[in-house]
Subunit: 319 residues, 2 copies
């Protein structure tokens, strides 16, 4: 299967190295890489791609005759673009799409899912939430007939890191700097600290797993700015911890979504997610409450999640 990769950052490079190492039985060939500064088309050596002039994405997709678009571009987190346009463009050409971007799933899920169905192709995005830890595949493959009634998660690492820095007596800004150094904070940190990232993940999960039709603005959102370093330290001394918690609840009035800071007991499972670790609990009808944990994930893990999606297209073609 031929892959067209849009975006050439850490995840894409890590994916290329996974593909180079992968067993021949699952051979994927890279027939194109597009980055801002240039395009590589034809048979591309993932270890040393040779880039030519830049190219519009649609032209690139037309030129490289791939079966699958791997969408890993840097995007505007508030709109999900240009990833959404790239994905639509791929579906129109009869290509499957695999992405690690949450934007398209948070902002345009229903349209994109419909376009994939109409084109008889698939849209996979395991790494969009929790860095490759099986979440979407968990429901698709392992929980048939199980209905998701709600979820509770700690899914934004930057806010956890900032809160932990303040617990140690450091400032908000020092915490943000540490999150940047770890590569988990967005360029504009308010996307994380004001709760937009958590809201996007909440919307993405609700759209895919609860058949919602929402965007991040549908989520009742509050950032962590209301908690001063002094207050965080005081709560810590009282055995409490603050976390930005994503919640979805099925209520008689409909689906209620929120991403807000909560004061938790130190012994609370949600509070035990520290550093860049994430935790997500699913409240279901027939499988009770089960959850997924990801401890200090790396970019390699995100890339491996993309690779697993690619394998899924081969292993389970009928889905």
């Amino acid at each position: 299967l031929k892959l067209a990769i849009i975006g050439w950052g850490g995840v894409a490079r890590s994916l290329a190295s996974i593909l180079a190492d992968s067993v021949p039985a699952h051979h994927f060939e890279i027939s194109g890489i597009l980055r801002r500064s240039g395009a590589a088309c034809g048979v591309v050596d993932p270890a040393a791609p040779v880039f030519g002039a830049p190219m519009p994405a649609a032209e690139f997709l037309e030129a490289c005759h791939a079966d699958i678009l791997v969408e890993l571009s840097a995007l505007n987190p508030h709109s999900g673009e240009p990833a959404i346009t790239h994905i639509r463009s791929a579906f129109e050409r009869g290509m499957h799409v695999v992405t690690a971007n949450k934007g398209p799933v948070a902002h345009a899920w229903r349209d994109l899912a419909a376009a994939a169905r109409a084109g008889g192709v698939r849209f996979l995005h395991e790494s969009a939430v929790m860095d490759g830890t099986p979440i979407f595949n968990l429901f698709r493959h392992n929980l048939p007939g199980v209905r998701l009634l709600g979820f509770t998660g700690v899914l934004n690492s930057t806010t956890t890191l900032v809160i932990e820095a303040m617990e140690r007596g450091e400032t908000f800004e020092e915490g943000v700097a540490q999150a940047r150094a770890l590569g988990v904070a967005e360029e504009n940190h308010t996307f994380d600290t004001a709760g937009w990232d958590a809201a996007a993940k909440t919307a993405a999960l609700a759209n895919v797993l609860m058949d919602a039709d929402v965007t991040p603005t549908s989520v009742d959102r509050e950032g962590i700015q209301g908690f001063s370093a002094a207050r965080i330290r005081q709560l810590s001394a009282e055995g409490k911890a603050v976390r930005l918690v994503c919640r979805a609840q099925t209520t008689p009035e409909g689906l209620r979504l929120s991403a807000r800071p909560e004061i938790l007991d130190r012994s609370d499972l949600l509070a035990s997610s520290s550093g860049t670790s994430n935790l997500l609990l699913f409240h279901t009808d027939r499988m009770g409450t089960i959850g997924a944990v990801s401890i200090s994930p790396t970019v390699e893990q995100t890339a491996y999640g993309v690779y697993i999606d690619l394998l899924d297209l081969v292993r389970y073609p009928a889905l």
Copy 2:
């Protein structure tokens, strides 16, 4: 597909009710139920089975012409029998086997897996560990090419309940009584409190997920009897919690397996598993450390895990 069910306890009855509710597209028919006091053969109404005289298991399997054995018998936890014999007997007859019993997976995994392969049939056991929470299916379906290097888990609920009772100032015996009342303690509580149940789960996970060939006696095992109620209360006052922790580690000297009590910080993820909740962290090569959580599971959840295994035979027949 026709099912022969051995064992008619809580899990089997709950499974029967799930089957009665299930959509026709996945129709399974019960063609036999065997319990100690009698057997039902032919088309069986799961809501009101009519039992005749008891029957040896081999004779029952011969008589009910089923495609799948659902093994849910009460077993000797120290030997895994008679479930192992029942499962072998089914494989010899060309039947698939689905079980919620950990005994066969902990005591005879390699033999049974080989017998299933030789017979061209499948052996599924999702509910053997963590009550139906996807563990084995997680690796099979969602983590292709990912190697498990080790795991860490809190998998025995009775010991957690006993420790929590002692933290509240109650006795060991009161804790055991509470675990019995919740239906999680084995009849002979030392199977739980001396660490045998945790050792069996450790062996089962290592056998299936790490290609080990071990039994519960291969696991370095220690129960919680060494912790007096006074010591548990003192540790609790110091912000510590004791949990019986299952561990597997790949070392230069080979696989190291243990099931021993550990003193943890209250804020430790492992300590946050309270009551009957379980937590299992997988240490992998390409997916970092990811984990599964199960919050206060019930017998319905275990039964649904068995149902998911049955669906797996239909959904993924080639695996």
